[in-house]
Symmetry: C3
Subunit: 160 residues, 3 copies
């Protein structure tokens, strides 16, 4: 049965601004008592990376990808006018000055409210990202799990 | 109660091509008698900016952002192959030659058909955009209003 | 009547990674017995282009656009870190090494499972793309057809 109290969000993007939008919607829905499942796929997996370097055996391409892609919410760029990270830094400063919750804070709030975070295993394979590199307490699944959850949810967004 | 006669569209993008897609879907639905609510957030707020300069007291970063971001639908770039605005100009020319409604015309049509336009207040804060800079006759709200409307709507899209 | 066994996906993006996401969700849903309708609009039309050059009478701008835009799934770039096609080539290599289905294979699977592919006629006009340039066995329609199908579907995503 479809329920308006369930929502899913696919987070395909790994940009700070789009991640902010995803977690703002998620925390809003969680605060209203909904169950929210967020599926992180492709670039979105970077949002779930641990900020510290994790030593994992990998091939050359995977190692290179892991090196150039940002580790965690504190290092994401923005989708427009990033100018090599300057735009993202300015955005973080403005948000701090205006007392808007930062992305790490939004993620913490979402987790404390019981958000269900799932990393897409197929994307992890393609991006060469391993479980050891992602934050703890998350789930791992593929498209079938997403579709089953979406079938029960009243709101399903793709943030790409 | 969910109704197929209600639709919501989050317009996160401020690109001409994506704004065209958003307003094409919106006007199509409005013409079929649906009620459509469009939430403009982040870069999407630029679509709602008045084309003329508006004098508002702001800090340095907000002033800079306001200067580099486009004012209104007539100045937006496209998401790919923009080449400093050349791509957007070519797209506008092709649309005119083919008698496809321009974005300002689509917006006018949507408004005459009763679209509900809402600017996201949290994003306005982050982007340093004030009410004086946005077009008249729109609403202002946050994520809770979006979620309440989405819960009643049969179609909810995120255009990012 | 809305049915969870029907899904629609708007494919606005013409990027390899986003097209992969769209077809992964589509084939997953088709494999579970759902009816899936995919609407290709703007840059997404490039995914449907035949790989070979097709001789069609066009104006200068349309000819130029047709030349610079990729022809079919084998030539698409990725949305981030494409580096003039290098990123896309690396992604294709990694997917092959890991035995992940390539985009042409995913598309073939989707079609064998009965996906309904529709090209947006308004976008075709704007992008200067003709029916002769697109793959066979697809449908052509506008926003009204999309909205009618979305009204019957339990899952509606916009991949932009």
């Amino acid at each position: 049965m479809v329920s308006v109290d369930r929502k899913t969000i696919i987070v395909f993007s790994g940009d700070l601004d789009k991640a902010m939008a995803a977690f703002t919607i998620a925390t809003g829905a969680l605060a209203m008592g909904c169950q929210v499942t967020m599926f992180f796929t492709f670039w979105g997996l970077n949002i779930l990376r641990k900020p510290e370097k994790v030593s994992v055996k990998k091939g050359f391409v995977e190692r290179l990808l892991g090196f150039v892609m940002p580790r965690g919410p504190g290092r994401l760029g923005i989708s427009k006018m990033n100018y090599g990270g300057l735009g993202a830094r300015m955005m973080r400063k403005v948000m701090k000055d205006k007392n808007v919750q930062s992305l790490p804070e939004l993620m913490e709030t979402a987790r404390s409210l019981g958000v269900d975070i799932i990393a897409c295993t197929t994307s992890m394979d393609v991006m060469g990202i391993t479980k050891e590199e992602l934050i703890d307490g998350i789930g791992y699944a593929g498209v079938a799990t997403y579709l089953a959850e979406a079938d029960r949810s009243g709101l399903n967004l793709f943030i790409g």
